[in-house]
Structure formats: C-alpha cells, structure tokens
Amino acid sequence: MSVLKLRLDNWLEGEELSGGAVVNLYPITPQGTSSPQRRSPFAIPAGSGNNFYTLEAAPGRYLIEAQLPSGDVVNQEVTLDDSSAPLEVRLKSDRSPHEWLSWQQFSGKVAERGRYNREEASPSSSVPCLSSGTFASPFTDPLNQAWQWEALAGAVRNRETHFPWLVQKPPLTARNYDGRVQSYVLTATMLGLPWQPPPRGTPALEKGRALLVMRFDPEVELISLPLPWITLDQSREGLLDIAVRSVLDNPQSPRTTLTVRDPSIGSALSYMTAGSLDRACLLFDSAREMLFDKQMNPLAAAAGAYVLVSTQQGADRQNWHAWVKNLMDWYPWLPDGAIQYGRMKIRDEDSDSDIDEARDVLFKAYARGLPYFSAGIRWLLNGLTIFADDGDEEARAYAANVHKVALRADMSQPFTVIRLGPRAPVR
C-alpha cells in the first residue's frame, strides 16, 4: 500500500481547521474508468497549518475532489507509486479578495477575488454602524420570552427602526474596511459577556442574550450572536467573524454575515446552508462525542442536531435522539432544542400522544423566544402551521407572529439574522 497525505492550503488568518473540506477520492482504473473500490468521503485539514489527513491506498491513479464550504470545488489528479515515501498533496484554494476576508470567502459569504473585483463596486460615502446589545426583557420570567415574537412581529408590521425592547450599546469599531465591506472579529469577552455556557438547567444567560444591531439608515438588521461559544478542540473562546457591507451587489443580499471560526465545525456550519447537508453531517458526525457527550457547547450541539435531524433516513431511533431531548430539557435559554424535538415528534409521530407532545413542545419553543439558528425559525413556523391549519387557534396566533419574523429572516445564513427596517432601494 502507498500513503497519501492531503490538506487544503488557505490563509484563514493563520488558523487551521481540523475538518476543513470534505473530499472524495476516486480511483481510476488502468482502462480509464472509475473504480467501484472507493472509500467514503472524508474531511481534510484546511488553513495555514501543516496538518495532513493520512490514508493508505493501493498504487495507481486517483482523482481528488474537494468540496469547499463556499461551494467551490478543487480537483486534482495524483498517481501513487509503490515507494515507501508518502505522497503529500496540498490543494490550493486561496481566493479571498483580502486576507481579512478569508474566513468569509472560505465560508461562501464573500465572492472569490476575481468576481469581487469584477463586480460594480463604487465605495459608499456612508458607513454602516454596528453595535452590540441585548433584549431588554420587560417581563421577569426567563422561561417566558414569547414577547420577543410579539415585539419583533410588531416591529416588522409597523416598519419600526427604534425598539424599546432593545438595549443597544455604543458602536463597535471595525478592524478593516475597504470602502465596501467592514470586518469585525468579536468574542464574548470583548462584549463583556461570560464565555462559558451556564450550568445545566440555568433558565437564562447571565447578562442576557447577545445581539448585534446593524444600522445603515433606514435599514436595520438584528443579528443573534451564537454566544457563549467554546471551540470543541481546545476549549477556548470562539471567535465570531462578521462582515458588514456598505455596498450590495444585489439588493436582496444581507448586509451582515457571520461565521464562527471553530477549528472543528466551522466548515460544517457553512455546509449547513450551502445545500451540502450531507457534508455537514459528516463533520458533525465525527465530532459527535464532543458535541453531545461532553456537553461543552450547547449551541454547537444544536447545530449538529439540525443537520442530523435533517439528514436522517427513515424513522429508526438513533442514539442521538435522546440528546435532542436533553438539549431541550437542560438548556431552557436555547429555543432550538425544543424546536428540534418538536420537529422529530411530528415527523416520526405514531399516535395522538406523539402529536399532543409535539404541540406542547412547539409551544414551549415559542415561549423561549427567537431561535439562534435560521433553520429553527423555519421548523417552528412549519410545525405551528401544521397545527394552525388543522384548526388550532392558539397555534394560529403563534404562527402568525413567527411568520411575520420569518418573512424577514435571512435563510441563507446558519444563524438568525432578521431585517427589521425598510429594504435598500434597488440600484
């Protein structure tokens, strides 16, 4: 057997992803046909480090196909001989318009260099303003955050741009700006928030839920920050990479995009929204123990659960099903666990009691407020719609509020971003 070592080189501001890109390795027969003797897709490291994914393979020709989180594909053919020296292959994908946008480009939020530079891009004379904030809960019960839906639906309905329910802090300072895109890198500590998740059963996050508010008059975007976030590999504080656009190539595009620089599952979070759920599943699956057994990062576990629930084939009970219920029971501040459990209950229902439980759980999710993930908005809306359209008046009232918010949700991003102000004029 020969040894093949694979990695993907990308600047990523000096960081390294252990699961950076999902690769297919296709053996090529001497007759020039593809061989059925192939291995399952696997993840290779990506970034500016020096780590390789190492595998043994029979001598011969192979086609490497790396699918990047951005949707880009890198192909390369290699020939393995029967020498004892491993063959090291460094795939290249450095196509970011700036080094400081490399995470955004790698995750598909910013166009690759060529298209970025081709697009009409007269710099803007005005600059968006980004501030952090929290919900100013007008009610003392941390387990009843249903008012968030009512407040957000009202803001959408009335075209509000100032919100009594929002505590907004002074503007943040961008670390880079090229006249079109501002870049921010934030952590919980920088925002004065605890960086570790609270103990199990804690009803609410200390110091409230972290939000960002982007204002670019008259537009307003509300960004739910996935904090607290602990990286799975090193248990360090997660970095949030945020880009804010002053110039939009398409008026429908969001101004604010967010990606998490997590070495283990950063790519998986991007695959979640790129029509590559099976690739996200592979990465989450390999981090299953860290996600679900170690309980280090409830938000990352919720991300993994969205993908696992979405990609499950058939109704067979999986060992992670119990974990979805745990997410709901142990982290009341996280609406997404209840949404996921409700979705599973409806999908796999086999009795009226399953249906009743699904209804109760979805109502519980509604009471917990805005989900952290955009998929949660969609799943909650669809779940409530199923009951509402079947004549359930309470579900109808809840669905109406969720729907108002869902129409302003940016479904192209994994984390919840809601556009509250008027839309930008069409250029």
Partner: protein
C-alpha cells in the same frame, strides 16, 4: 387518458408521477392583454417557461429511467401566448407515442385540480415517487414563496388568489403516501416588502395540511431544488428553456450523477452540486443570485439512472489571459472529441463522457510551447488548466 395527462402507463402500479406547470403568459402583468393589476411588482411576460415545461416533459417521457420507480404518468399545464392571447388551443406531442394532446391553461383552478389528481395517483403506494415542476414567476421572501399562475392579479383586490402558497403546499404534500417527493421550482425572485407582508394569504396551498398526515407511513423525503438566479434575463430566452431548466436537464443527463452504486445515478446531493456548478457559471456571465427559501430537506432520493452521462468540462490556459491565443483540442483513444480555434477569451466549455481524455493547447501565433495532459473526467464537472509557457 385522465384530464391534464399527456403520458400514462397504466400497467405501472408503483412508479413515478409528475405534474409540470409552465406559465409564460400573465394577462394582468406588464405587457399582458388585460388590465394591469396593482400588485404587478414590475413583473412582465416570459417566453421561456412554456419552452422549459415542454422540454422537461419531453425529457421525462423520453429519457427518465428509474427501474424501481418507472414513469407512470405526466400531467402538463401551460399558459403561453397561443392559448392565452391568441385564443387557440396549445398542443403537446408525446415524444414516445407521437400522440398529440390539447394542453389546458395554468389557471389556479386548473392547477388545483391537476395537482389534486396527481397527488391521488401517487397515493396508492409509499413506494411511489412524485415530481412537481413549476416554471414561471415566483415571489419569494424569507421562508416563503408564492408561485404565480396565469390568473395572478385577476382579482384586483387579491392578486395572490392566482398563486400557489408553496410552503403550505409542501406541507400539504405530507398527506401523499409517496415517500419520495421531488420539487423543482424554477421561479424565484424577491418580493418587495409590501406584497407578502401585508397579507396573511400567499396563494392556494392546493392540498390542505393535516397534523397526522404521515401516520403509518414512512417519513417523507422531499428535496426541493430552487432556481437561484435573479432577474428576467434567466427567464426571457426566446425559444430556449430558462437558465435553471437548461442546467437541470444537463444535470439529469449526467452532471448530477454518481457511480457509488456501480452505475450512474442522479441523486439529491450530486444533483445539487451540479446545479450549483451551472449557477456559479452563470455568475461569470453577469447573472446575480437571488436568495431562496431553502427548505433544509436534502434527504437522499435516487431520481434517475443515466446510461451515458455527459460531464461538463472547462478548459483554460494558465495564465488565463492566454486562453484566447490557444487552439484547443480534446481527444479520447485517438479520436477527436472537439476543438476550438483561437480568438475566444472565455474558457472552452464542452461535454464529455466519463473517462480519460487528452487535452491539448497549441499556440499558432505565439512562441508558447504546446501543452497537453491526460485527465480523468467524471461528474459533477472538471476544470482543466493547460500551462502556457514559452
């Protein structure tokens, strides 16, 4: 033959049932032959959707191949200038039988009847597969999409009476026994804030929702494939299918296939890869992407088996600036598979069978050395770079 159906094989008890809707003529939108509706949103008449719907029907009837779910029925509705403005009957000729059918218009009442009958045909077995294809105007926002039928705007007080509420329709289809349900939506464009938000009504759901819809049935696998290109240029290509449908047909013919089971099969994940590739290629021609209300359902469905897949291949020089100077040739086993003379600065695009191919670049008017390499071609696509060195 049942109403709306242009192809049927009654001998097939478990198979694939399709409904295809193509709307190009909208009397109440700009350029239409009836009063312009208030909620026209700047939408115009389209030329490509009727062509696309016919082309997709042709492909299904002539080429669709799924041994475990053979084609059982195809229903077709089209609104085009012929049957909407000129008052004639639109025709469709079945490519397999040669039989000619009168096509009914894609009015919302017809669509409701056709979809209901299609759902009922597929309801006899969980092993059936359904295919829903819509091409025309659509308005999307956030989680929702309204698909506009011919009579959009006919009710001036509620334009969306002539529309399909796709999110609810998708939920309603949980009632259909068929466990595999594919939705192809060649329609998306963004809404103004006012149209959808000012209403609680987004169109007809076509099939009402039931909370215990799948009791006793396997979970539904229902991938949705959305067109993601913005603007009319993707839909107004005279006598040509839309950009998305063109990409869809190319993907079904090979780019979206994989051979992990030994033969070439088009399945959800690879089909999404192929469509994404074709859409990305359009960006290079100035198209822009529109946000799509992704459903998050990417469950694996094996849609089609391809006997001889065709793989899109891009050939260019390194550096790219020398591409226009190259004479390109492609050979397989000594036989030419195509060539392109100098003068074209864009990449050379061709479609090839899987396998080894030799790619050659020569430079007739420069001192660059000829470059060649043998590369393995397989779906979803290949990019070949030939060095231009002196």
């Amino acid at each position: 033959m049942p109403r709306f159906v242009v192809h049927e094989n009654p001998a097939i008890t478990v198979g694939t049932h399709a409904v295809i809707i193509g709307v190009g003529s909208y009397p109440h939108l700009n350029g239409g032959n009836k009063p312009l509706c208030e909620d026209h949103e700047g939408l115009k008449q389209l030329t490509s959707p009727p062509v696309s719907a016919r082309r997709f029907a042709d492909w299904l009837i002539a080429s669709f191949n799924n041994p475990s779910k053979p084609l059982a029925s195809v229903a077709l509705l089209i609104s085009e200038e012929t049957n909407v403005v000129s008052g004639q009957t639109a025709k469709y000729t079945n490519p397999k039988t040669g039989a000619e059918y009168d096509i009914e218009r894609a009015l919302i009442d017809n669509v409701k009847d056709a979809v209901g009958e299609w759902k009922d045909r597929a309801d006899n077995s969980v092993d059936n597969m359904t295919i829903f294809y819509f091409c025309g105007h659509g308005i999307a926002q956030g989680t929702d999409a309204s698909l506009l039928t011919e009579d959009y705007g006919a009710n001036k007080n509620d334009a969306l009476e002539g529309a399909i509420d796709f999110r609810r329709f998708n939920l309603g289809m949980l009632r259909c026994a068929a466990a595999e349900q594919c939705f192809f939506i060649d329609a998306c464009r963004a809404s103004s804030d006012t149209l959808l938000e000012n209403r609680d009504y987004f169109g007809l759901p076509l099939i009402s929702i039931k909370k215990d819809a799948r009791r006793g049935k396997p979970s539904r696998r229902g991938p949705v494939f959305y067109a993601a290109l913005a603007g009319d240029s993707a839909y107004a290509r005279p006598n040509q299918p839309t950009v998305f449908t063109d990409a869809l047909l190319k993907s079904l013919n090979g780019a979206g296939s994989n051979d992990q089971d030994g033969d070439w099969r088009v399945e959800t994940s690879r089909l999404m890869d192929a469509l994404d590739y074709f859409m990305q290629r359009q960006l290079e021609d100035g198209h822009k992407l529109v946000q799509i209300p992704a459903t998050g359902d990417a469950s694996k469905v094996q849609i089609h088996y391809v006997a001889n897949p065709l793989v899109p291949v891009e050939v260019a020089c390194v550096p790219d600036s020398e591409t226009a100077k190259a004479y390109f040739d492609c050979q397989q086993g000594g036989a030419s598979k195509g060539s392109r003379p100098p003068g074209e600065p864009k990449k050379w695009l061709l479609e090839l069978s899987p396998g080894n191919h030799e790619f050659i670049a020569t430079y007739p008017k420069t001192a660059f050395k000829p470059a060649s390499k043998t590369e393995f071609v397989r779906p979803a696509f290949r990019r070949i770079a030939l060095e231009a060195t002196s």
